[in-house]
């Protein structure tokens, strides 16, 4: 019993993903992105059922390998896996560069020896998923690698935008915050520009990646310019330790210059969506009135995360093809 086969067949563009892994949005074509979002549409319906479970990944073993603390993403993946009937295993490993433990490659090879089907990896080093992908036969799903990518976050953001605005093409999306250290930013830029959105990024020049315009976005440190007539405003988390790195003088000043207030929000389109990947710092990058206000879709993002991750897991497991075999 598949909730997705019918829907996929209506889309002639592509019916499967080319890669065995989801390392980043950079590897996906617009057709593949649409495929994932369409599949997620069908997956979302599962959450509204009294019995929230389909057998799509029955007999599949999924390892959630988290080297960084994460509540939202790990929980979201785990719920998604369980709703697809996968056997799941959570491994949380606290790491620091001082602790001399097993190498990531050895951890991966040991897990691989037990023949899991998929490994969902969260790691503080950019490129950690690429390393695993070269070692493992299992499908690797990037659940956030360093400052590089967080592809399922960008997919769930796109899904949430598409739900409200029907399409991504032509929308003005303003992304505001710590651009330099954000994997959410990189995945969102890649996805939104591929899908034809007009992306504006905004933050202090000290937190702006080099050559950011080469990514096909408008960059500004003037938050009013970024927000004006925006369809979507996406706020990124500001970490306290950035202040100590002298990226900006104080949280108070940051909020005064870049924080999302109701007044600034007035510059955007009347039906603007306010998004945040979490965890939020209320009063730092976003005023509580905005976060809790009528334009906020922050909790929708969380809800949609499960459906999008179900879609990714399902498609990487082989989609309908795998189900027939089972």
């Amino acid at each position: 019993m598949s909730p997705t086969v019918h829907d996929i067949e209506q889309r002639p563009a592509v019916t499967s993903l080319r890669s065995k892994d989801l390392l980043g949005i950079s590897d996906l074509t617009p057709d593949e992105i649409n495929l994932i979002l369409d599949t997620a549409d069908a997956m979302k319906e599962v959450a509204s059922r009294p019995i929230k479970k389909v057998p799509a990944l029955r007999g599949k073993t999924v390892v959630n390998l988290f080297f960084e603390p994460s509540t939202r993403t790990r929980t979201s993946f785990e719920i998604a896996e369980k709703r697809l009937s996968a056997d799941t295993l959570n491994i949380a490993i606290a790491t620091s560069s001082v602790v001399k433990g097993e190498t990531l490659a050895d951890t991966a090879m040991n897990l691989e020896a037990m023949r899991p089907d998929m490994i969902v990896l969260r790691h503080s080093s950019s490129g950690a998923c690429h390393l695993l992908s070269r070692i493992c036969r299992s499908a690797i799903i990037n659940a956030g690698d360093g400052m590089h990518e967080h592809p399922t976050q960008a997919l769930l953001d796109a899904f949430t935008i598409r739900e409200r605005k029907k399409q991504l093409k032509g929308l003005k999306v303003a992304i505001i915050g710590d651009l330099l250290h954000s994997r959410v930013l990189r995945s969102n830029i890649l996805l939104l520009t591929k899908m034809g959105a007009d992306v504006w990024v905004c933050g202090p020049p000290t937190l702006m990646p080099t050559d950011i315009r080469r990514f096909g976005v408008n960059a500004t440190s003037n938050v009013e310019h970024a927000v004006r007539d925006a369809d979507v405003i996406m706020m990124l988390r500001i970490q306290l330790e950035r202040m100590e790195g002298a990226y900006f003088p104080s949280l108070r000043e940051y909020f005064n210059v870049f924080g999302m207030t109701e007044a600034r929000m007035q510059l955007a389109k009347p039906d603007v969506m306010i998004m945040h990947p979490g965890p939020m710092n209320r009063g730092v990058e976003i005023a509580s009135e905005v976060a809790d206000g009528p334009y906020s879709v922050i909790l929708d993002q969380v809800a949609n995360g499960v459906a999008v991750r179900m879609a990714v897991l399902y498609l990487l497991a082989g989609g309908a093809k795998h189900e027939e075999a089972a």
Binding site: L104, S125, G127, D145, T210, D211
Partner: protein, 435 residues
């Protein structure tokens, strides 16, 4: 024993020679150079057409890792790698374990070199004890034991005042101070050149300005002290600009560029293999404008030497997350093919310039024998095969470590033979030379 290298094209810029000459080697030294020398009972080696006889190449920047890190390289494996790559001599950096800040370490390295009996080894001593940047090392002792220069390589000399004292003190022995130019605060915990590719891959950046600032500091102090300052492994165009200005101003500065910095750009971080730790070195692979600038500097004479920064690391150490991998790649066996393929065959430099960069200038900078085929000079000879088709195979490198980004590269130009003190130590069976 006498040996006559007969009928080869000889390129010896120190003597203004580029033409067919015979070279008579008597024991460990060059006895005569001239046209159609009489055989007089010498063993005759005919130099086949297309091969070129050069003074032995000298790599003034290698890490031999011994003592202390013999799992990466030893003096024996490193010098085997050197002769296979056409280098008759190498100068080895002091960041061993223990640091070469003591005559006993220098003596140990030279003893290992004598045992290996391959390429000549010129140890470079530390500027400061333990390279900790506090107290000067016993530099006179190091000199006496055989060191030819001083550096705290791996890191910049900790403070400007220490670098000043080092320059002043080393001048007493006619030694240059070699500097790993880098401003530590701009370097931060960077792992790749600060540019588009690091931004796309989410890697912490190291701007070119970090290096240029270190180079400027050293050149100001060279001006202040009148001493010889040498910029190691230069990679940033801003550093080259500063070096040119300093040279115009008459400051005693020299500089070297590594083959990977005139060949690759930071694009290699992402393709063909994303996050390949063999593209991680310090200074990092820079953007195209920097790479092109290094080639220009090499062509116009602003750059004095090509040096490899040969930095062997065990594969275990490189098979980790990019930001945790050590900096560095091996270079001894890829330097000459890359120089021929990328600089000579592209028309950017002539062979005479190549020999200046790889032999004459390093000898002059370090004030060591060689760098020329003059009569009476050591019979250190590198015979190159400029048109030989070479495929780099990491697994077949003589170095104990295989960390190269050039695995599988096909290049035009290689080594035919390497002779140290008249002894043929490497002969390439793919060329028609017999020694």
């Amino acid at each position: 024993m006498k040996r006559l290298l007969k009928g080869g094209r000889v390129v010896d810029p120190a003597n203004g020679i580029d033409g067919v000459r015979d070279i008579l080697i008597d024991g460990e030294r060059i006895a005569r150079v001239g046209a159609d020398l009489p055989v007089n009972g010498a063993t005759v080696t005919e130099i086949p057409d297309g091969l070129i006889v050069c003074p032995g190449f000298i790599d003034m920047h290698v890490h031999l890792r011994e003592p202390g890190q013999e799992h990466k390289e030893t003096v024996a494996t490193g010098t085997a790698s050197a002769v296979a790559g056409g280098f008759t001599a190498v100068a080895c950096m002091p960041n061993t374990s223990p640091v070469n800040d003591d005559a006993n370490v220098t003596t140990y390295i030279l003893e290992k070199a004598r045992e290996a009996n391959l390429a000549r080894v010129y140890p470079i001593g530390a500027v400061s004890k333990g390279s900790q940047g506090e107290l000067l090392a016993d530099i006179a002792d190091l000199r006496k034991a055989g060191c030819v220069a001083i550096t705290d390589d791996g890191h910049p000399t900790k403070t400007a005042i220490l670098l000043r004292r080092a320059l002043e003190y080393a001048a007493m022995f006619g030694m240059p101070v070699i500097e790993h130019c880098e401003d530590p605060s701009l370097m931060g915990d960077g792992v790749a050149h600060e540019g588009y590719y690091a931004a796309a891959l989410g890697l912490r950046g190291i701007p070119g300005a970090a290096e240029a600032l270190g180079a400027e500091r050293g050149m100001l102090l060279a001006e202040l002290t009148g001493s010889h300052f040498h910029v190691a492994h230069m990679s940033a165009r801003a550093s080259l600009r500063a070096v040119r200005k300093a040279k115009e101003a008459g400051i005693r500065v020299t500089c070297e560029v590594a083959p990977h910095h005139f060949t690759l750009t930071d694009e290699a971080l992402s393709t063909p293999i994303a996050y390949d730790t063999n593209t991680k070195m310090n200074p990092p692979l820079r953007e195209a404008a920097d790479r092109d600038s290094m080639v220009e500097g090499i062509a116009d004479g602003s750059v004095d030497a090509i040096a490899t920064d040969h930095a062997p690391h065990h594969y275990d150490e490189k098979k980790v997350e990019f930001d945790r991998a050590p900096f560095g790649i091996v270079g001894l066996e890829t330097a000459v093919p890359l120089t021929l393929d990328r600089l000579v065959h592209t028309g950017r430099i002539r062979l005479t310039r190549m020999v200046e960069l790889l032999s004459m200038n390093p000898a002059r900078i370090l004030n060591v024998p060689g760098g020329t085929l003059s009569e009476g000079a050591p019979a250190d000879v590198t015979i190159i095969a400029p048109d030989l088709k070479v495929t780099i195979e990491a697994a077949r490198l003589r170095s104990r470590s295989k960390n190269t980004p050039f695995d599988g590269w096909q290049l035009r130009g290689g080594i035919a033979a390497t002779m140290v003190g008249g002894r043929p130590l490497f002969v390439n069976s793919e060329t028609r030379i017999s020694l």
